[in-house]
């Protein structure tokens, strides 16, 4: 099975102190450290596990600047067979639809049975996967937390629905799935693994290679524009339970049950 995973490089929320810049239109990016968007990492792991079962190849693709190479190398160190960097100055300022347009052009240059994305980017809107599916006229399922390959070009998938329940569906290939974290336990990649793939060439694609018109993507084509960033004001503080340990435990159980956290 040929699997394409669309990945994205994001500031790692656990290793950065996110602050607004002075203009208030973006976050302060000077000292940020970046990593692969976490759900995308689960998507790559899932793809690797699928090809380990049914054979095939995994390609990881990302749209962004030269810096994005670092996440591609990491995913190759995990085991992805190839990685592609889609980069062009003309892509700057693309909205979700723009990114989906770029990816669609890339998908059509190859032949993929299955396209995976992370459920959403940590700095994104969980829209690209669905838009890409629509543009390709492929079936789409979101929040997928297990995949089983069936005979006859079908997958059996389960999706996380409200309250932690699972919905089981069959879906025809080719399709696009957005992958929920927790679907697997991604393998660890250290510096050693990355070093081992340091010299593997990563092809880059731009507007010309993808046959895109520069007006179709980028800031000019964007129909959604970021206007502002703001840090929400502190709301009401946490509710403190007061009483003996036993009383608190009882109250906590009541509250959890009332909010649907216990069954």
């Amino acid at each position: 099975m040929e699997i394409l995973v669309c990945a994205r490089r994001v500031p790692d929320t656990s290793e950065n102190e996110i602050a607004l810049n002075s203009a208030g239109n973006d976050i302060e990016r000077d000292e940020l450290v970046y990593s692969i968007n976490e759900p995308d990492n689960y998507a790559v792991e899932e793809a690797l596990q699928i090809v380990a079962r049914v054979r095939g190849q995994v390609t990881v693709v990302t749209v962004g600047g030269e810096d994005n190479e670092e996440i591609l190398r990491r995913e190759m160190a995990m085991g992805a067979n190839q990685a592609v960097l889609i980069t062009d100055d003309a892509f700057a300022g693309s909205d979700g639809r723009g990114i989906a347009t770029i990816l669609k052009a890339f998908v059509q240059k190859g032949k993929y049975d299955l396209i995976l994305t992370g459920v959403q980017a940590e700095d994104g809107a969980a829209q690209v996967g669905a838009m890409l599916a629509a543009m390709l006229d492929y079936p789409f399922a979101s929040l997928v937390n297990s995949i089983e390959v069936l005979e006859g070009g079908k997958l059996k998938i389960s999706r996380e629905i409200e309250g932690g329940n699972k919905e089981i569906s069959e879906i025809d290939l080719p399709c696009v799935l957005s992958i929920q974290t927790g679907i697997n336990e991604p393998r660890y990649v250290g510096m050693r693994g990355i070093r081992a793939v340091a010299s593997v060439p990563i092809p880059t694609y731009g507007t010309a290679e993808l046959g895109l018109e520069s007006g179709a993507v980028g800031a000019t084509a964007a129909k959604v524009r970021r206007v502002d960033y703001f840090v929400p004001a502190f709301g009401k503080g946490a509710e403190m339970l007061e009483g003996s340990r036993e009383e608190n435990i009882e109250k906590l159980l009541e509250l959890l049950a009332a909010k649907g956290g216990l069954k």
Binding site: D12, S14, E15, N16, E17, E31, V33, S35, M78, E185, P186, R187, Y188, V189, G190, M191, R192, G193, R195, A196
Partner: protein
């Protein structure tokens, strides 16, 4: 007839002349033993290299102390003393066994040097030795069957009890002793009946008793007993010799070698691969131990040498709290694997993966590398290097628990496991009330100092532990040390990174730190973190000498630079918890205690487990992120030990111990009854300060945002 009864060899039984029979048994026994040992050595030949042929004097010293001197045995009184008797008996009887065996084919054989009176003295000694060994065997069998010490039990998940095998082997040795004594006694009885002078003067020894019993036996009967005793001795001897390599008694043969080749440098870790320099590691295809053959030959010898005494697991904190790790079975399972995959006949080895095979990942991650097992093992079996090698293999395969992946990634990108900003690494030193009293300068190429205070990640970033850092800095200032820190240029020491098997990341952290340390020009390093101390001392190369703050304090107390005021709460009882990487791995036991004892009015008690039997608090570094499967926290067990010792203040000298112990006090419900304090904090609190502010070395350059290497 005279000739016949003198020695066993000429006695003819049925048609086979004794001498021929004995010779056949000899050849058969020795050939079989040789073949068995050769098969046992096969995996060692295929194993990873391990250079252990250096420093013969240090190795001989180990042999004298731990093998001949049985140094570690008395740590367990009953079993230890029993073993010393048995060992001494065996040593004495070894030469006699050879003599007896050779007498079978050469009746007049006398071991060189053992003729005349020396021989008589030796005879007396061996008569008693055989008796003592027999008594020990009986005692050991009774102990195994009736008293059943808990540490010999085999938990269900590790298979069947080993009692039957142990008792069988003990019984065989007992039989050997009886056969030997009977042979001796019959010889004496025969000589007595023929009116010869009887040399058997060993009153109350087994041969003496047996001789008495045989006094009125007829001569032909004596001859038959004599012959049978000899034959039994020979058969049992060779059976034991050839059977031992199939079980725990192989240590009789291997222990000498295992101790001679034992690891000499405590606190260190073996490199990923011996003989491959750091620069060439990238060319090594696979890291660590993934299959049995990846172990070094010495580690395989460890597996053969284990006597299954259970002392390692009896002292293992992971085992004590129900984690899925028992060091004893790390060894036993590997030995069973070796026996199964390197059989006596047929093809050997198939390179099955060990993780998911005989070991589980959780088992290998459960170890805190505290070293309690190694401190206890009478045979100097190594565990930490094996655990780390197995982890290296797992890391190489990407098999790392999710809970550890984030901190490892943060260490890679930010140089600390918390993912905090590098520029905030020295923030602990800029607390207003602290800065007024003690200024800590940040060192670099331009701002040098004699002493570098290496803070490490937890003390730099953890709110609670920063207090230890400030106390250490105040102490250094108080004793007049010209010191500074690396600030943002410091990275995590990588001590646990290395011990969790991430060698490449460790090397990156180490190289960065070494460069920064060299650039600052400090002549010595002080740290208050035993893990950083061990890393700087043993894992780093070419850095200035390093001291732990407890050593600095102890020296200053001795020289009078630090004077203590009397303790205020005189009803407090203090106890000192030895951090593993200060105590067991570096033998700093006395300095912290000397400091405590120098504080007037401080009452100190020892916990039941202290010094090299200290009980790990739960582990440091990355172990704080690991989510073990356990019934109880190690720390909880530890604070309960402090409570049992009727202490109400636990003093420790490690920030990780502080995390675990303070948490454990809460979990154990001992809040209000027990508190914890770091030795540096206590020193800072009790130091007599002259009425001058600690000299401000320089205007604070604390917030220097120097980000090296990024």
């Amino acid at each position: 007839m005279m000739e016949v009864v003198q020695f066993a060899a000429p006695i003819t039984s049925w048609l086979v002349p004794g001498r021929t029979l004995f010779l056949v048994i000899h050849i058969l026994g020795i050939t079989s033993f040789g073949y068995i040992v050769a098969r046992r050595l096969l995996p060692l030949v295929r194993a990873a290299r391990d250079p252990r042929f250096d420093r013969p004097l240090a190795r001989l010293r180990n042999v004298l102390q731990f093998w001949l001197g049985q140094w570690k045995h008395p740590r367990y009184k009953v079993a230890g003393i029993l073993h010393i008797f048995i060992f001494a008996g065996f040593i004495l009887l070894a030469m006699r066994a050879f003599t007896v065996l050779l007498v079978g084919v050469h009746e007049n054989f006398v071991m060189p040097g053992l003729s005349g009176s020396a021989g008589q003295i030796y005879q007396v000694a061996t008569d008693y030795a055989a008796t003592v060994v027999l008594l020990c065997m009986i005692f050991a069998i009774v102990r195994r069957l009736v008293f059943r010490p808990a540490r010999y039990a085999v938990p269900a998940r590790y298979g069947k009890a080993h009692t039957a095998d142990a008792v069988f082997l003990l019984a065989l040795i007992a039989m050997l002793m009886v056969a030997d004594s009977l042979f001796e006694a019959t010889k004496a009885a025969l000589q007595a009946q023929q009116g010869q002078t009887v040399e058997l003067a060993t009153v109350l020894s087994l041969p003496w008793i047996l001789k008495g019993a045989l006094a009125s036996t007829s001569l032909p009967m004596l001859g038959r007993i004599y012959y049978s005793a000899y034959l039994s001795h020979e058969v049992v001897f060779y059976f034991l010799l050839c059977y031992r390599p199939f079980g725990i008694q192989f240590h009789v043969e291997t222990s000498l070698f295992n101790i001679y080749f034992a690891k000499l440098d405590q606190g260190t870790l073996k490199p990923v691969r011996w003989g491959v320099s750091d620069g060439h590691l990238d060319q090594v295809k696979s890291f660590g131990v993934k299959k049995f053959e990846d172990f070094t030959w010495k580690h395989m010898l460890d597996f053969y040498s284990c006597a299954d005494c259970g002392r390692c697991s009896d002292n293992c904190p992971a085992n004590a709290v129900g984690r899925p790790l028992s060091p004893r079975f790390i060894t036993i399972k590997a030995r069973d694997y070796a026996f199964q995959h390197y059989p006596m006949f047929g093809h050997a080895g198939n390179g099955q993966p060990l993780i998911g095979g005989i070991y589980s990942a959780d088992e290998i991650w459960s170890c805190t590398t505290c070293g309690a097992c190694e401190a206890e093992c009478p045979l100097l079996v190594e565990y930490i290097d094996k655990i780390v090698d197995l982890r290296r293999g797992m890391v190489d395969d990407g098999n790392v628990p999710q809970s550890l992946q984030k901190p490892l990634q943060a260490l890679e990108s930010r140089g600390n496991p918390y993912g905090k900003m590098e520029k905030k690494r020295a923030d602990w030193a800029s607390a207003i009330d602290f800065k007024q009293r003690c200024s800590v300068k940040t060192l670099d190429k331009k701002n040098g100092a004699d002493t570098l205070y290496f803070v490490d990640s937890i003390t730099s970033y953890d709110d609670r532990m920063q207090s230890i850092g400030r106390a250490a800095a105040k102490i250094l200032g108080h004793v007049g040390e010209n010191f500074g820190i690396l600030g943002a240029a410091e990275r995590d020491s990588g001590h646990e990174v290395r011990r969790f098997g991430e060698e490449t990341l460790f090397m990156a952290l180490r190289d960065h730190n070494v460069e920064a340390i060299k650039a600052c020009g400090a002549k010595r390093i002080v740290t208050a973190d035993p893990h950083a101390y061990n890393a700087l001392k043993h894992d780093y190369k070419d850095v200035p000498p390093v001291e732990h703050i407890s050593q600095v304090i102890a020296k200053a107390v001795k020289s009078g630079k630090i004077k203590f005021k009397p303790i205020e709460k005189s009803n407090n009882v203090y106890t000192y918890h030895d951090p593993c990487y200060l105590g067991r791995h570096n033998q700093v036991y006395d300095d912290p205690r000397a400091v405590l004892d120098a504080i007037p009015g401080l009452k100190r008690v020892e916990m039941s487990r202290s010094r090299d039997r200290s009980f790990c608090c739960g582990g440091g570094g990355l172990m704080l992120f690991y989510e073990p499967k356990e019934e109880q926290r190690m720390g909880v067990k530890r604070v309960q030990m402090a409570a049992e010792a009727s202490a109400n203040v636990i003093v420790t000298a490690c920030p990780f111990c502080m995390v675990n112990i303070e948490d454990a006090i809460k979990v154990a419900g001992l809040e209000g009854k027990l508190t914890a304090i770091d030795l540096a904090e206590l020193t800072d609190q009790q130091m007599v300060r002259e009425d001058r502010v600690v000299k401000a070395v320089e205007p604070a350059v604390v917030q220097q945002e120097l980000v090296l290497g990024r």
